[in-house]
Symmetry: D2
Subunit: 365 residues, 4 copies
Amino acid sequence: MASTFGTLFRISTFGESHGPAIGVIVDGCPPRIPLTVEDLQAELDRRKPGQSKIVTPRKEPDSASILSGVVDGQTLGTPIAVVVQNTDQRPSAYKEMEAAYRPSHADYTYDAKYGVRAISGGGRASARETIGRVAAGAIAKKVIRAAIPAYQCVAFVKSVQHISAAETICQNPDPDVIESNIVRTCDPAAAEKMIQLIEKVRSEGDSVGGVIECVVRGVPPGLGEPVFDKLEADLAKAMLSLPATKGFELGSGFSGTLLTGREHNDEFYMDGDKVRTRTNRSGGIQGGISNGETIIFRVAFKPTATILQEQKTVSAAGTDTTLAARGRHDPCVLPRAVPIVEAMVHLVIVDHFLRQRAQIMDNVA
Amino acid sequence: MASTFGTLFRISTFGESHGPAIGVIVDGCPPRIPLTVEDLQAELDRRKPGQSKIVTPRKEPDSASILSGVVDGQTLGTPIAVVVQNTDQRPSAYKEMEAAYRPSHADYTYDAKYGVRAISGGGRASARETIGRVAAGAIAKKVIRAAIPAYQCVAFVKSVQHISAAETICQNPDPDVIESNIVRTCDPAAAEKMIQLIEKVRSEGDSVGGVIECVVRGVPPGLGEPVFDKLEADLAKAMLSLPATKGFELGSGFSGTLLTGREHNDEFYMDGDKVRTRTNRSGGIQGGISNGETIIFRVAFKPTATILQEQKTVSAAGTDTTLAARGRHDPCVLPRAVPIVEAMVHLVIVDHFLRQRAQIMDNVA
Amino acid sequence: MASTFGTLFRISTFGESHGPAIGVIVDGCPPRIPLTVEDLQAELDRRKPGQSKIVTPRKEPDSASILSGVVDGQTLGTPIAVVVQNTDQRPSAYKEMEAAYRPSHADYTYDAKYGVRAISGGGRASARETIGRVAAGAIAKKVIRAAIPAYQCVAFVKSVQHISAAETICQNPDPDVIESNIVRTCDPAAAEKMIQLIEKVRSEGDSVGGVIECVVRGVPPGLGEPVFDKLEADLAKAMLSLPATKGFELGSGFSGTLLTGREHNDEFYMDGDKVRTRTNRSGGIQGGISNGETIIFRVAFKPTATILQEQKTVSAAGTDTTLAARGRHDPCVLPRAVPIVEAMVHLVIVDHFLRQRAQIMDNVA
Amino acid sequence: MASTFGTLFRISTFGESHGPAIGVIVDGCPPRIPLTVEDLQAELDRRKPGQSKIVTPRKEPDSASILSGVVDGQTLGTPIAVVVQNTDQRPSAYKEMEAAYRPSHADYTYDAKYGVRAISGGGRASARETIGRVAAGAIAKKVIRAAIPAYQCVAFVKSVQHISAAETICQNPDPDVIESNIVRTCDPAAAEKMIQLIEKVRSEGDSVGGVIECVVRGVPPGLGEPVFDKLEADLAKAMLSLPATKGFELGSGFSGTLLTGREHNDEFYMDGDKVRTRTNRSGGIQGGISNGETIIFRVAFKPTATILQEQKTVSAAGTDTTLAARGRHDPCVLPRAVPIVEAMVHLVIVDHFLRQRAQIMDNVA
């Protein structure tokens, strides 16, 4: 169950970083949704390694194949299996890991949990696992768009360490601007500084983290379940299930704790026949249920754990030792994490969309 | 499914605020765990209304009854049903709500979702729902303690609006100190200021929020699942499923994004035959799995949405109107939220503890 | 999870036979379905003890209370909790069970599983558990009927030991006839013989079993999932989850294995614009999915395990001993099992109905 | 969810008959279980087409590849993905199906459910789907055997149409005898007659069904959950989820309804320090929980729906028509169904074994 996400639109990912393949099964996708492998590949290309000078130079084409669930460019309603072969493996770069636990990685905890692990490439703990999420997210987006053409989910890098995009620009992020710079921020001026910072820390064998913000428009009122499966709870789980994440906040978030109720509440007003709020400190969700306003949240990503500088650590055999990573790593995961964040949003939204459809019986008096 | 939480230790809550009763069923509790209704009542008394001058003056005894699953002070392994009667209901205090949606509440979103709602007392969206969580959490704690006597989970109020507990005290919070002040913070000096602030905003008909921090000790390495059901992901979901929460962060959290990898990584060392980390920016979880260090996280609670000041809003009929709440409300939810946060931690930990037990086959070579 | 059934319309039962109460939570019931406690009581009265001379003379009113999820005679979409107090308990009648395992009962296996059990009244293994199912089934029926007015589910006693209802009458069972005789068979002539047989075996301190047949009309084509959650698979699980059941067969069932494919296949024909089959050896389900024909299945119930004659057995302490039951027991469970079988059908159908609703996106081209 | 089975040992199958591949993901397999692709292939070879003169002559090697979850011949505890390429496809043989619904097949019901289907080869409704079950079952068997070396599950053909294996031989079926005849029955004399019958009906373009019996030894007392997830309920669901099945019975089954309680009850006795029953009409399960005796059940398989004789039917366009199948089909599915039945037993048993492990806390006083 560890590797399954969703209730009605349910995905199960599989694969180790240096095993034969990585992939996902999507069960519960509605039938007759137009879908081609290109829909998936477009998103996978946004997360693949080697796409720019500030990400890992590994060269993996990450070419997806659809093994089932689609015929003649249409979904069948049956499970959709997607597989990506692993190709650019250099197990030699991971030799040190056999002997030493990488600090702030999952090497030690996997051993503690399973008593065994796929050492090469980080195995199951590698961020390559997110390939399956991105492929499934692309399918989810197609389903949502088929029902809600106005649906739009835009994630972007809000900050890299101390460098932040301008708040005014963040309030209306332009997807084209975001994709036009390799760091995937909405603020071109900040992009330059972020890139310089990433290149600098890489040259030092170090790494940096930052914050990704995501705005989701077009979600109709009524999605989300009122108690445990609140929409923000499922988004929080989705985000904290991503590698390297340390925090999640919705709408006003932590800074909202500095306001009084009077200052924080979002007053309602009528916009024609629609109920709207004048402010959006709620972040588009109230009582766990979408209210039709833009959903806004932020996710904290820690600096990449793998650094080339030497660090103290211990061996699997239980002796103190040191470790300096070799290999090709991302000095900052955020640019490639942007499409992954979006994929997880699609997966949460499509699941709650289908759940809401099941529940509301239109033909009942 | 909205109202079910957990995989092996599974709870299902039920009840509207002003309906006949509120409660929970716990399914999957191991047999032969000592359990009495007093175990539950002790925790329920920490969350009940009317316990101090800074919380709502409503007088609900919140007396629990165990209807099943326990005989002669021992669990049977069968579902444990717990019921609390609702007694202090003043539906008249909610008359206004029939006509007007409370800003930043769930009135509008429930109508959008269901087309019907239990108006009096907030219905299912009332924080009274957390009674079931606290009762179930008390059972979970008994199960964990039976297996791990050293297990300890301590939540406390870290800040109320701009007033924070001293960081040095937060690093080693004393449960007795926390319970000795009505705001449930670890810092007695800050407690006084927090109480004054809460009394002040109440007198103004306003409200405040803040941050709760939680430290969990004694969790063995190996709990948590590596992909979607990461321990931090399930904690994040648990916390964001609580009313009034806006954010969650683990270990270094959002501020961790300001460090480099070199600064952020937790180096390993051997402490006798135990693998330990010198720092704990990971917050006790690496790769989704506990590493044996203290689990530390923080939760942001917004200021209470219900305020006595008049606010603009709209009616269910779709006209602009105003609303000033009457009734008896918490000007700050944090003091009563402390045991609720702990209950959710117990529920997450016990579930992953049982999942890990199922998985590790000791008798396999 | 042991005590939860269903995917979208999900029920969780609780309660021991001689504990304070028995009940159920229904989560996932659509909102705005008309529902009163009388809807539940009507079905509970059909399964309650003491209703005729051929069932147990225990006197339990089995009066249901709805604790949540319903306001003003309408469902809210939130969990519906139903509780029935246990009243007519005579623990003294179960004294022997403390010392001796009842043959073909669950006493020994509960001890093997849990190392503890609620001895009095059979505890969780008592058929009183089905009260929760019947109450939940009554809710499910209301939901189905709201969407499909033509839906009709009729179960009846087809045979008691060697005495069978006439096959021609079974092919078109009349609900009024079934409810008009205390054995709940469709054939009045057979009813008399069945009643005489049951009275005879009771007088001998013995018991009998038999077969219940169930016909379900009005189920639209398309319900059921094609692989594991086939409609017949979920029906089979539902039936084999009932106490005392030993077998399930759909349509032609075991006797269908004596035909050739030529003889067994159900040819299709057009009935106006509807696809129909001329025969119905499929029993209304093909490939796991309803085909719009009447769903027909049969369930085998073994003779009641509790008999008043002395039997050899062993004690919980591990010594050979003998046991003669005292107390008030059903010499034949079938008359009271009829409404239970129907309840489980309602639960399976409503769940697949909601699942199908979620999946088919009408607004997609 | 349609395509997922199991709670802790959870499998998800995917694939259409004539799509690129068929396969399965197993999530929840314990770590450090010895496993090679040969373990899977041995079972797949027992179900593959073309293995004898009485099954379909299609030539599919059904060669499995393990894509994840296994390193150095050991399971990792992570999802195990298994893929089998589809090779011997002759879509032309299915041309007729585009125009006409095959009687007693899933063509019509898939269209009713999804509004689209993979026509060639039967798509998702093809029995090729069971490849994933058999592969997963082989993994499950390895897990059970690692913990319970004495575990043994033997299924065999008990009858083909009117020809039955001798009851005395069925009571102690010899796996070597079963595998030594191509019909997979335990009675060599009956085998000859069954083979002749199958060859005869094939030559007539017709088909036959029959009954498979399965005996499972070595299951410890205590597996199974007492209410909905009774061991027999999960076995019934597992069996009725297989293509072409029409019935399931445990132990005495339908014929048990002809006995009185006195005759039917299984008396307990002490066998050393073990609790045993002298008879086994319960079929090894009491109250939903294994009692340590041999688990015995039977499954009815209908005659293969695909026959070469011309049958009346309707077209997808809604007109009456006729259809005579071409292509290469099994005139009797039972010989190849034997390993599939066993696989489903392994999956049910391993899941309940892990669930029981999670629940019993040995270290609790």
